[in-house]
Amino acid sequence: MLLSRFAESLYWAGRYLERAETVARMVKVHTELLLDLPRAAGVGWLPLLAVTGQGEEFLDRHTAPEEEDVVEFLATDTKNRGSVLASLAQARANLRASQVVLPREAWEVVNNLHGWAAADTSGAIDRRTRLGWMDHVVGQCQLLAGALAGTMCDDEAYGFLLIGRHLERADMTIRVLDVQAGVLVGQSQGGVSGGPGALGGSDPPDTPYRDVTWMGVLRSLSAQQMFFRTEGGGVSGPAALRFLLQDERFPRSVEFCLAATARGVGQLPRAALPLASCAVAQSRLRALTITDRFTPGELNQLVDELELGIGEMHEILARTYFQLEGVPPALVEPA
């Protein structure tokens, strides 16, 4: 039987590891993207801050979104609780607190990764070493996921790690869509021949760059290759959105993450309430039809509803399993 405290630590470890991996990947992809875009495209570093929801926090401390400042803020600034390094520190602290239920190697991977990242903060910022730094973080997070999958019992402890990972992943995918897809959907409104507010507006003056950025969205979620395999090539707004929101097989789609969360929760005792909250978000997603006429307003509303749903799932999980709210004492006697 898993202690509530360990469940909570593992859940947060899952969330922070996922966040570290995702932010590192986004910084990497955005760095690559800017190499492709002309300055005139006007795409700077603000969208990245918008994804993490930290534009204001950043501008409180910096006058303008200069590349090095933004990268430092997102990668190695320990005062920013959402930075890669701060996320790794949180993941490490949580795994340390629940070390006894983990395979020893898992702790060592996180411990080493955190030590490495903390010792080489300049490597994250310098353009020449940045991509390698981000790759290392992503790679080690994936190594850890593999080590856990390969050495840990598929029990409640592993379950909470996975629940944390999938909720965070759903959350990050939604944030990326909110900001980046939001920008793209908005751009097409002003398109030459496209209908007002429609996604499929064709031939705006900056066409080549529009394709590049839809690919950027896919790439920042490691979705590009699987998207092409599934959709058979050619990037269109509706197809990309459908893939990232509703695909049942792609492990970073919102649908997949919610289903994985529901599967994990289903293994737990007293799961009725948490499962119900998963089901609300899932049914919202399944009822959605994305067409060429999908508007920024619709996207905003969807994002808001999904974010609320994820927030509520978190609250209910915490109350049910971490705070043990409403559970009578002595509910369970040892077997």
Partner: protein, 503 residues
Amino acid sequence: MPTRTEPRWSGYRSPGFFDEMLVGGRARDACTGVVRYLASLGAELLDRQRAAELVIQAMGITFTVYSEADDGDRSWPFDVIPRVISTQEWNAISAGLVQRLTALNMFIDDLYGSARVIADGIVPAEVLASSTNFRQQCVGVRPPGGVWAHICGSDLVRDRDGTVYVLEDNLRVPSGVSYMLENRLVTKRVFADLFRDLDIHPVDSYPNRLHDTLAGLSPRPGDRPTIALLTPGVHNSAYFEHAFLATQLGAHLVEGSDLVVDSDDRVYVRTVRGPVRVDVIYRRVDDLWLDPEAFRPDSLIGVPGLMRAWRAGTVAIANAPGAGVADDKVVYAYVPALIRYYLGEEPKIANVPTYLCGDDADRSHVLANLDELVVKPANESGGHGVFVGSAATLAECEEMRLRIEADPRNHVAQPILALSTAPTLCDGQVVPRHIDLRPFILSGERPYVTQGGLTRVALGEGSLVVNSSQGGGSKDTWVLDPTVFGPPVLDPTVFGPAELTDR
């Protein structure tokens, strides 16, 4: 190729001290095989030391040092040369430790019960009245079997003449046993060949025996009581050991906030399945922090209501709250008398002669001979506040004198013992270093003493401080039967030439 200097054994001497392994350049009986083997390794001994250090790093065996920044985990310092004790000697020591713990437990039970020992004038009432570890909240409680100190770590030292003394008994939350177990794993890896040929007693039954001792305390007899190991948390210096033992025991590793005491006076652990009743708590939290309702109200690491549950008998706590009363170094002085009083036997292990500064005659003697004595605070552990007269400056002596006069009850003094030495690898050479030994004693239905224990070694030349927090290291401790040795039994390819010479 650079040539390495071989560690030399033939010139090894430890003048003025009892050496555990060699005397006058010859191996002691129990050590013949081991010494011949180690000497035959030549420079390879250094490789084995390095291999041991790598094993320790890879296994993540660490200890925590408070003063360091961050979480301050350091690799466990380990000397690859084992410390050897003969089975015959160890059996005698074991019997003495069991005798000692039996008397100590009877004493604690008596103190919190009818206090016969005071009424009969064996221990003066003032000792009890002024003891900082006597807990009024425990008076009248009768733990199962009258046992209060289920787990004890006693420190043994050997003086110049070979006599083994108990230096102190740790009855509160003794630590170190996990390092004893890990040390053995390390030497098994680096000296696998020796384990095949020598009859070295295994140490790894300790976790099972500890489990049985704890399970035997359950207020709900059944085959699988719920056991929780209560730790102050991840920042405690012994957290590594807490996690290690919890895993070995199949116990929940809990912090205070994981436990709740309900209005039914039962203790529950908060799990994702809901609260689960706890039968036995192996606590590694000091008395005063256990329960803010009963002791320090500012304790954040305790469990409100725990004492209530314990007094109601719904949960067992090991060691029992209040057991530390016998940990007092003033009480230590009375242990031989307690053994005679409760058991009608003579002590089987010697006590170091102890002067109680609370006694006028003793104090005069102590103050007149400070430079020849060790002075200790009565209720500290971990070597804190220990004054060694022979190493003190005049100013330090004066300061000690003032401290004794200000609080005589809480100071005891003992003659300076010449701690025995054992060969230790330092900078590639085999040199004598001072050591002690901490065996662990389990008291319950079936008493148990570890085979050997944790040998601690003071790594600095001439140093007597063995605490790992102050530059001490450790050795594996091998209890083995020398009567199985002899040329016919030994494989010469493993044990090398019979004469102790360097290659």
